[in-house]
Protein backbone atom coordinates (compact mmCIF):
# COMPACT_ATOMS: atom_id res chain seq x y z
CA UNK A 1 0.00 0.00 0.00
CA UNK A 2 1.65 3.25 -1.10
CA UNK A 3 1.37 6.68 0.50
CA UNK A 4 -1.44 7.73 -1.85
CA UNK A 5 -3.65 4.90 -0.61
CA UNK A 6 -2.71 5.59 3.04
CA UNK A 7 -3.59 9.28 2.54
CA UNK A 8 -6.87 8.45 0.77
CA UNK A 9 -8.07 6.03 3.44
CA UNK A 10 -6.65 7.89 6.46
CA UNK A 11 -8.15 11.21 5.40
CA UNK A 12 -11.53 9.57 4.77
CA UNK A 13 -11.67 7.73 8.09
CA UNK A 14 -10.71 10.78 10.16
CA UNK A 15 -13.01 13.06 8.14
CA UNK A 16 -16.00 10.86 8.94
CA UNK A 17 -14.97 10.39 12.59
CA UNK A 18 -14.85 14.18 12.99
CA UNK A 19 -18.23 14.67 11.34
CA UNK A 20 -19.87 11.92 13.38
CA UNK A 21 -18.36 13.02 16.68
CA UNK A 22 -19.85 16.48 16.15
CA UNK A 23 -23.30 14.95 15.85
CA UNK A 24 -22.80 12.81 18.95
CA UNK A 25 -21.83 15.45 21.49
CA UNK A 26 -24.44 15.50 24.29
CA UNK A 27 -27.04 18.20 23.71
CA UNK A 28 -26.65 19.66 27.20
CA UNK A 29 -23.15 20.80 26.25
CA UNK A 30 -24.89 23.29 24.02
CA UNK A 31 -27.20 24.82 26.59
CA UNK A 32 -24.63 27.37 27.69
CA UNK A 33 -25.17 30.68 25.84
CA UNK A 34 -21.42 31.17 25.42
CA UNK A 35 -21.09 27.83 23.64
CA UNK A 36 -23.95 28.78 21.32
CA UNK A 37 -22.35 32.13 20.66
CA UNK A 38 -19.02 30.50 19.86
CA UNK A 39 -20.79 28.04 17.55
CA UNK A 40 -22.27 30.96 15.64
CA UNK A 41 -18.93 32.77 15.41
CA UNK A 42 -16.78 29.83 14.30
CA UNK A 43 -18.30 29.54 10.78
CA UNK A 44 -17.81 33.30 10.30
CA UNK A 45 -14.13 32.95 11.23
CA UNK A 46 -13.44 29.83 9.17
CA UNK A 47 -15.41 30.85 6.08
CA UNK A 48 -13.80 34.30 6.05
CA UNK A 49 -10.37 32.70 6.36
CA UNK A 50 -11.24 30.30 3.52
CA UNK A 51 -12.34 33.16 1.29
CA UNK A 52 -9.08 34.99 1.95
CA UNK A 53 -6.73 32.05 1.62
CA UNK A 54 -8.41 30.68 -1.50
CA UNK A 55 -8.38 34.11 -3.12
CA UNK A 56 -4.84 35.22 -2.34
CA UNK A 57 -2.63 32.17 -2.00
CA UNK A 58 -1.30 29.18 -3.84
CA UNK A 59 -0.09 26.63 -1.29
CA UNK A 60 2.09 28.74 1.07
CA UNK A 61 2.75 31.59 -1.37
CA UNK A 62 0.71 34.77 -1.29
CA UNK A 63 -0.28 36.20 -4.67
CA UNK A 64 -2.61 38.65 -6.29
CA UNK A 65 -4.06 37.42 -9.56
CA UNK A 66 -7.34 37.13 -11.47
CA UNK A 67 -9.03 35.71 -8.37
CA UNK A 68 -8.92 39.13 -6.72
CA UNK A 69 -11.02 40.49 -9.57
CA UNK A 70 -13.47 37.63 -9.08
CA UNK A 71 -13.62 38.37 -5.37
CA UNK A 72 -14.25 42.09 -5.91
CA UNK A 73 -17.02 41.32 -8.39
CA UNK A 74 -18.56 38.87 -5.90
CA UNK A 75 -18.48 41.50 -3.14
CA UNK A 76 -20.10 44.03 -5.47
CA UNK A 77 -22.78 41.51 -6.45
CA UNK A 78 -23.52 40.74 -2.79
CA UNK A 79 -23.77 44.44 -1.96
CA UNK A 80 -26.31 44.76 -4.78
CA UNK A 81 -28.19 41.86 -3.14
CA UNK A 82 -27.65 39.54 -6.10
CA UNK A 83 -28.81 35.92 -5.63
CA UNK A 84 -26.17 33.32 -4.81
CA UNK A 85 -25.70 31.72 -8.29
CA UNK A 86 -25.29 35.15 -9.86
CA UNK A 87 -22.62 36.01 -7.27
CA UNK A 88 -20.62 32.89 -8.10
CA UNK A 89 -21.16 33.09 -11.84
CA UNK A 90 -20.15 36.74 -12.07
CA UNK A 91 -17.02 35.99 -10.05
CA UNK A 92 -16.11 33.07 -12.31
CA UNK A 93 -16.77 34.96 -15.56
CA UNK A 94 -14.83 38.07 -14.53
CA UNK A 95 -11.93 35.98 -13.26
CA UNK A 96 -11.81 33.86 -16.41
CA UNK A 97 -11.97 37.01 -18.56
CA UNK A 98 -9.00 38.56 -16.79
CA UNK A 99 -7.06 35.31 -16.94
CA UNK A 100 -7.72 34.71 -20.64
CA UNK A 101 -7.48 38.21 -22.04
CA UNK A 102 -5.20 40.28 -19.81
Amino acid sequence: MNSFWIATIGTSVIAFALKYSGHSVPEKWLSHPKIQRINALIPIALLSALVAVQSFSEKSTLMIDQRMVGLCVAIAALMLKAPFPLVVLSAAISSAAVYNWL
Binding site: I14, H23, V25, S48, V51, F56, L62, V69
Partner: protein, 208 residues
Protein backbone atom coordinates in the same frame (compact mmCIF):
# COMPACT_ATOMS: atom_id res chain seq x y z
CA UNK B 1 -29.96 23.73 -5.52
CA UNK B 2 -27.89 26.56 -6.89
CA UNK B 3 -25.31 25.92 -4.18
CA UNK B 4 -25.30 22.24 -5.14
CA UNK B 5 -24.71 22.98 -8.82
CA UNK B 6 -22.07 25.61 -8.20
CA UNK B 7 -20.02 23.68 -5.71
CA UNK B 8 -20.65 20.34 -7.39
CA UNK B 9 -19.18 21.78 -10.54
CA UNK B 10 -16.02 22.57 -8.64
CA UNK B 11 -15.66 18.80 -8.32
CA UNK B 12 -14.32 18.88 -11.87
CA UNK B 13 -11.41 20.94 -10.62
CA UNK B 14 -10.81 18.55 -7.73
CA UNK B 15 -10.93 15.46 -9.95
CA UNK B 16 -8.55 17.05 -12.42
CA UNK B 17 -6.17 18.37 -9.76
CA UNK B 18 -6.19 15.06 -7.93
CA UNK B 19 -5.16 13.07 -10.99
CA UNK B 20 -2.60 15.72 -11.92
CA UNK B 21 -1.09 15.33 -8.43
CA UNK B 22 -0.59 11.60 -8.80
CA UNK B 23 -3.78 10.11 -7.36
CA UNK B 24 -5.57 7.50 -9.44
CA UNK B 25 -9.12 8.03 -10.73
CA UNK B 26 -10.34 5.48 -8.16
CA UNK B 27 -8.54 7.23 -5.29
CA UNK B 28 -9.91 10.60 -6.42
CA UNK B 29 -13.45 9.25 -6.47
CA UNK B 30 -13.02 7.54 -3.09
CA UNK B 31 -11.83 10.82 -1.57
CA UNK B 32 -14.95 12.57 -2.86
CA UNK B 33 -17.27 9.76 -1.74
CA UNK B 34 -15.75 9.09 1.67
CA UNK B 35 -13.93 12.24 2.77
CA UNK B 36 -16.49 14.52 1.08
CA UNK B 37 -15.07 17.82 2.26
CA UNK B 38 -13.59 19.99 -0.47
CA UNK B 39 -10.98 21.84 1.53
CA UNK B 40 -9.72 18.64 3.17
CA UNK B 41 -9.56 16.89 -0.18
CA UNK B 42 -7.65 19.71 -1.85
CA UNK B 43 -5.33 19.81 1.16
CA UNK B 44 -4.43 16.13 1.03
CA UNK B 45 -3.82 16.05 -2.73
CA UNK B 46 -1.87 19.31 -2.47
CA UNK B 47 0.45 18.00 0.24
CA UNK B 48 1.12 14.68 -1.47
CA UNK B 49 1.43 16.34 -4.88
CA UNK B 50 4.12 18.61 -3.44
CA UNK B 51 5.98 15.56 -2.17
CA UNK B 52 4.65 15.61 1.40
CA UNK B 53 4.18 12.43 3.42
CA UNK B 54 0.88 10.60 3.86
CA UNK B 55 0.89 11.59 7.54
CA UNK B 56 1.29 15.31 6.86
CA UNK B 57 -1.37 15.10 4.16
CA UNK B 58 -3.78 13.38 6.54
CA UNK B 59 -2.97 15.83 9.36
CA UNK B 60 -3.57 18.91 7.19
CA UNK B 61 -6.81 17.51 5.80
CA UNK B 62 -8.00 16.52 9.25
CA UNK B 63 -7.28 19.97 10.70
CA UNK B 64 -9.52 21.38 7.99
CA UNK B 65 -12.08 18.69 8.78
CA UNK B 66 -12.37 19.78 12.42
CA UNK B 67 -14.80 22.48 11.38
CA UNK B 68 -17.19 19.80 10.14
CA UNK B 69 -17.28 18.48 13.72
CA UNK B 70 -18.15 21.98 14.86
CA UNK B 71 -20.87 22.16 12.20
CA UNK B 72 -22.19 18.83 13.51
CA UNK B 73 -22.47 20.34 16.96
CA UNK B 74 -24.55 23.16 15.48
CA UNK B 75 -26.76 20.89 13.37
CA UNK B 76 -27.37 17.91 15.71
CA UNK B 77 -29.88 19.61 18.05
CA UNK B 78 -31.84 20.85 15.02
CA UNK B 79 -31.81 17.60 13.03
CA UNK B 80 -32.42 15.23 15.97
CA UNK B 81 -31.57 12.08 13.99
CA UNK B 82 -30.28 8.68 15.12
CA UNK B 83 -28.87 5.45 13.70
CA UNK B 84 -28.34 5.26 9.95
CA UNK B 85 -29.83 8.72 9.44
CA UNK B 86 -27.23 10.19 11.79
CA UNK B 87 -24.47 8.48 9.78
CA UNK B 88 -25.90 10.05 6.60
CA UNK B 89 -26.33 13.43 8.27
CA UNK B 90 -22.74 13.29 9.52
CA UNK B 91 -21.41 12.49 6.06
CA UNK B 92 -23.17 15.49 4.46
CA UNK B 93 -22.22 17.88 7.28
CA UNK B 94 -20.07 20.33 5.32
CA UNK B 95 -19.66 24.07 4.79
CA UNK B 96 -22.47 24.32 2.25
CA UNK B 97 -25.18 22.26 3.98
CA UNK B 98 -24.53 23.92 7.34
CA UNK B 99 -24.24 27.35 5.74
CA UNK B 100 -27.54 27.02 3.90
CA UNK B 101 -29.26 25.64 7.01
CA UNK B 102 -28.03 28.56 9.11
CA UNK B 103 -29.19 30.91 6.38
CA UNK B 104 -32.71 29.55 6.92
CA UNK B 105 -32.55 30.09 10.70
CA UNK B 106 -35.07 32.94 10.70
CA UNK B 107 -37.61 30.75 8.90
CA UNK B 108 -37.61 28.08 11.59
CA UNK B 109 -36.18 24.62 12.27
CA UNK B 110 -38.13 22.83 9.52
CA UNK B 111 -36.69 25.10 6.83
CA UNK B 112 -33.23 24.66 8.33
CA UNK B 113 -33.54 20.87 8.12
CA UNK B 114 -34.79 21.08 4.55
CA UNK B 115 -31.91 23.37 3.60
CA UNK B 116 -29.39 21.05 5.24
CA UNK B 117 -30.58 17.83 3.58
CA UNK B 118 -31.25 19.26 0.10
CA UNK B 119 -27.93 21.05 0.02
CA UNK B 120 -25.94 18.21 1.58
CA UNK B 121 -27.32 15.52 -0.72
CA UNK B 122 -27.33 17.80 -3.76
CA UNK B 123 -23.70 18.77 -3.28
CA UNK B 124 -22.79 15.13 -2.59
CA UNK B 125 -24.30 13.94 -5.88
CA UNK B 126 -22.84 16.73 -8.01
CA UNK B 127 -19.46 16.71 -6.24
CA UNK B 128 -19.00 13.00 -6.91
CA UNK B 129 -20.27 13.02 -10.48
CA UNK B 130 -18.05 15.95 -11.36
CA UNK B 131 -15.05 14.49 -9.55
CA UNK B 132 -15.31 11.47 -11.82
CA UNK B 133 -15.72 13.70 -14.87
CA UNK B 134 -12.80 15.87 -13.84
CA UNK B 135 -10.53 12.93 -13.06
CA UNK B 136 -11.32 11.30 -16.41
CA UNK B 137 -10.98 14.54 -18.33
CA UNK B 138 -7.93 15.83 -16.45
CA UNK B 139 -5.72 16.08 -19.50
CA UNK B 140 -8.46 17.34 -21.80
CA UNK B 141 -9.52 20.17 -19.50
CA UNK B 142 -6.12 21.73 -19.05
CA UNK B 143 -6.29 24.93 -17.03
CA UNK B 144 -9.17 25.40 -14.55
CA UNK B 145 -8.30 29.10 -14.26
CA UNK B 146 -9.39 29.64 -17.85
CA UNK B 147 -12.89 28.70 -16.70
CA UNK B 148 -12.85 30.94 -13.63
CA UNK B 149 -13.27 27.93 -11.35
CA UNK B 150 -10.50 29.19 -9.09
CA UNK B 151 -12.70 32.20 -8.28
CA UNK B 152 -15.98 30.32 -8.01
CA UNK B 153 -15.18 28.64 -4.72
CA UNK B 154 -14.04 31.71 -2.74
CA UNK B 155 -17.11 33.50 -4.15
CA UNK B 156 -19.26 30.61 -2.93
CA UNK B 157 -17.72 30.79 0.55
CA UNK B 158 -18.23 34.55 0.54
CA UNK B 159 -21.87 34.08 -0.42
CA UNK B 160 -22.27 31.71 2.51
CA UNK B 161 -20.65 33.93 5.10
CA UNK B 162 -22.23 37.21 3.88
CA UNK B 163 -25.72 36.75 5.39
CA UNK B 164 -24.09 35.98 8.75
CA UNK B 165 -22.33 39.34 8.92
CA UNK B 166 -25.31 40.90 10.63
CA UNK B 167 -23.53 43.45 12.80
CA UNK B 168 -20.38 45.47 13.22
CA UNK B 169 -18.89 42.84 15.53
CA UNK B 170 -19.41 40.00 13.04
CA UNK B 171 -17.99 42.04 10.16
CA UNK B 172 -14.95 42.95 12.24
CA UNK B 173 -14.39 39.31 13.12
CA UNK B 174 -14.70 38.26 9.46
CA UNK B 175 -12.22 40.86 8.21
CA UNK B 176 -9.86 40.18 11.10
CA UNK B 177 -9.85 36.44 10.46
CA UNK B 178 -9.36 36.96 6.72
CA UNK B 179 -6.28 39.13 7.32
CA UNK B 180 -4.97 36.79 10.01
CA UNK B 181 -5.25 33.78 7.70
CA UNK B 182 -3.46 35.60 4.88
CA UNK B 183 -0.71 36.82 7.21
CA UNK B 184 -0.13 33.31 8.56
CA UNK B 185 -0.23 31.53 5.19
CA UNK B 186 3.50 31.92 4.38
CA UNK B 187 4.45 30.97 7.96
CA UNK B 188 2.24 28.07 9.04
CA UNK B 189 1.75 24.75 7.21
CA UNK B 190 -1.18 24.75 4.76
CA UNK B 191 -4.51 24.49 6.54
CA UNK B 192 -3.34 25.77 9.93
CA UNK B 193 -4.00 29.47 9.19
CA UNK B 194 -7.65 28.59 8.57
CA UNK B 195 -8.16 26.36 11.58
CA UNK B 196 -6.38 28.89 13.80
CA UNK B 197 -9.18 31.39 13.14
CA UNK B 198 -11.58 29.00 14.88
CA UNK B 199 -9.61 29.68 18.05
CA UNK B 200 -9.97 33.42 17.47
CA UNK B 201 -13.73 32.88 17.30
CA UNK B 202 -13.62 30.85 20.52
CA UNK B 203 -11.53 33.48 22.27
CA UNK B 204 -13.75 36.42 21.33
CA UNK B 205 -16.89 34.35 22.00
CA UNK B 206 -15.70 33.58 25.52
CA UNK B 207 -14.76 37.18 26.20
CA UNK B 208 -17.91 38.87 24.98
Amino acid sequence: MSVSLTVGAYGVAFGAASVANGFSVLQSCLLSLLTFSGASQFAVIGVLGAGGSAISGIATASLLGVRNALYGVIMAPRLKVHGVKRVLAAQVTIDESTGVALGQEVRGTDEMKKGFWYTGIGVFVFWNLFTLAGALGAQAMGDIRAFGLDSAVPAAFLGLVWPRLTGRFERLLAVGCAFFAIAMTPILPAGLPIIATAFIAIAVGLKK
